[in-house]
């Protein structure tokens, strides 16, 4: 091939790859454009603070917002410490050639690849029927309290689902802590746990927070795992106990788009609900970036 042909191929490839990037931006712009355009008109303070009414054709989504927030909050309480502990084991203690490490590493990888609906079934079988019924038998003489779909079981199911996200990002953060810090701590006569909890983990804190927030972002958008373990079709009030059911924004979107008696009347509400859900996810992601940047800055200067 002559030089000019090769140059032409080069230019074509450059154009092609740039075009692919434009497609991505285009698709996102179309999604956001439609949702913003249609979701904006129904959006109001009342929409954010009221319960659904008139057979889901009126009112707002407050119970769903509250339910989503409560769900991810309870989930974080479980998933953050568990994820941090697994990550510490992987990063600081595990012998990387041992069979136990290899098996547990594969377990985390496979957990990340399990379809989310399977987590829903797992949650129903394990948390609701096994743990929940067990609690009822042990403390309520078999009376039904916890052996039914509830926010606590949904949160635990979500925690299992998002565990790999937290483990991976915390582990990356731990690995990024300079070796010099560990060495300096050990050279001063610290035990391994002192080095981890006083030097390594504080330095990796931005990563821990990022991991938690990514997990929250993921959980806020997932619907399939909570279908069977606690999400309610319609609840005019907000959950007050751990064994209450709850509404969820993602599930509400599903209900509005498939179960509505009057599609045209529901449509504006559907758009607005999707808008709220998207906004929530974006805000959480932005928060993750912001917190990480702030903590990095604070670490450099303090």
């Amino acid at each position: 091939m002559g030089t000019s042909t090769r140059m032409a191929v080069d230019r074509c490839l450059r154009l092609l790859t740039a075009l692919a990037a434009v497609c991505i931006i285009g698709i996102l712009a179309i999604i956001l454009g439609i949702i913003c355009h249609n979701g904006w008109e129904k959006l109001s303070w009342t929409f954010l603070t009221a319960a659904p009414s008139e057979g889901m054709t009126g009112g707002g989504v407050f119970p769903a917002i509250f339910g989503t927030a409560a769900l991810v909050f309870i989930m974080t309480i479980f998933v953050a410490p568990a994820g941090v502990f697994v990550a510490i084991y992987f990063s600081e203690y595990a012998d990387r050639s041992s069979w136990f490490y290899i098996i547990s590493r594969q377990a985390v990888n496979n957990l990340a690849g399990v379809p989310s609906i399977v987590f829903g079934l797992f949650g129903l079988g394990f948390f609701v029927q096994f743990v929940g019924r067990g609690v009822d038998r042990a403390f309520y003489s078999g009376e039904l309290h916890y052996g039914q779909p509830a926010i606590i079981w949904a949160a635990l199911t979500m925690a299992v689902l998002t565990l790999p996200v937290v483990i991976v990002s915390v582990e990356e953060a731990l690995q990024a802590v300079p070796r010099g810090y560990r060495e300096a701590s050990h050279a001063l006569g610290s035990t391994k746990s002192q080095a981890i909890f006083r030097v390594v983990l504080p330095h990796a804190m931005p990563g821990v927070l990022t991991g938690s927030i990514l997990a929250i972002g993921r959980a806020a958008g997932e619907v399939a795992p909570i279908l069977f373990v606690g999400a309610a079709y319609y609840l005019p009030r907000i959950p007050g106990k751990f064994n209450d059911q709850f509404m969820h924004l993602g599930y509400h979107v599903f209900i509005l788009s498939t179960q509505s008696p009057d599609v045209d009347a529901t449509k504006p509400i559907l758009y607005s609900t999707v808008f709220v859900l998207l906004a929530l996810t974006f805000i959480l992601n932005a928060l993750a970036v912001f917190i990480r940047a702030r903590m990095r800055m604070a670490q450099r200067s303090a």
Partner: protein, 281 residues
């Protein structure tokens, strides 16, 4: 065992030494603080040290010189079992610290490392304040009884490392805001704060500019009144300037060990002579 020579020192700084004497007189043999006997070391299947036997004298500066990969850092890091942090290492022989074999598997390495402090090649202050960097070692070793006591100990350590006057007005600023040379002297102060008996220095000035380097060397000279210092360096002038004894390592073997003056003026081994005259390395 590891007695309290340094613990009983007064908080007052010693006399300033403005100029280093051009040539240090070889001093009379002193007590042996550390004695390596047929010490060998492996990284996996690769042998890094072969039957090293040498003595390190109390309140003396012992320099270890040699080309890259000769095992000098490995030997230094064996003295506080820092190599334990690497997987798959194996040791044979003995290293006696005040008569106790620190290579033995049942030694308390945490206590050992408190007694054998270490300063690294790259200054590695924690991303904390200057004060907290010094207080860290005191806190983890439960050496602070109360606030005033802690402040006193931090000040003492900084004075000991001759950096107090420079940092006393910014103790709560980040250690990372200091220059490289200041950071390294902070790391020395941090190591001194937990009152070790022996101080290991792994190329402590190789990442620093000449002025910071001379400050570190001046400090080493001053510290040997209270501490037994072992310094690894690839800079032969530095070894000649600061040390009383010098060991020359080559390919995992100790080629020659003796008073610094003798090693540099009248080496007994041809390989030592070739190295110090710059024929290789």
């Amino acid at each position: 065992m590891l007695s309290t020579a340094a613990n009983s020192r007064s908080p007052i700084i010693r006399t300033e030494i403005k100029e280093l004497p051009a040539v240090q007189k070889p001093e009379a043999p002193k007590n042996v603080r550390v004695a390596a006997k047929d010490f060998s070391f492996w990284y996996g299947s690769r042998q890094a040290l072969r039957k090293i036997s040498m003595d390190i004298y109390a309140r003396n500066v012992t320099a270890i010189i040699g080309p890259s990969g000769c095992g000098k850092s490995t030997f230094l890091r064996s003295l506080n079992r820092m190599n334990d942090m690497i997987a798959g290492v194996r040791m044979e022989g003995e290293i006696l610290l005040d008569g106790q074999n620190i290579i033995s598997p049942d030694i308390d390495v945490v206590a050992l490392r408190r007694n054998v402090g270490m300063v690294f090649q790259q200054p590695n202050p924690f991303p904390k304040s200057i004060f907290d960097n010094i207080a860290y070692g005191l806190r983890i070793n439960k050496m602070i009884k109360n606030r005033a006591d802690g402040e006193m100990s931090v000040q003492e350590a900084l004075q000991h490392a001759a950096i107090w006057d420079e940092v006393k007005d910014r103790l709560h600023k980040s250690a990372l805001s200091m220059s490289g040379g200041e950071q390294q002297r902070l790391c020395i102060a941090r190591a001194l704060a937990v009152r070790p008996q022996i101080l290991l220095m792994d190329e402590p000035a190789s990442a620093l500019d000449p002025i910071s380097t001379s400050k570190i060397e001046e400090l080493i000279f001053r510290l040997k009144k209270d501490y037994t210092i072992v310094i690894v360096t690839h800079n032969m002038q530095q070894a000649a300037r600061v040390s009383d004894h010098t060991a020359f390592f080559l390919q995992g073997e100790l080629v020659e060990f003796g008073p610094t003056v003798q090693i540099f003026t009248n080496p007994r081994d041809k390989r030592t002579e070739d190295y110090i005259t710059g024929r290789f390395g």
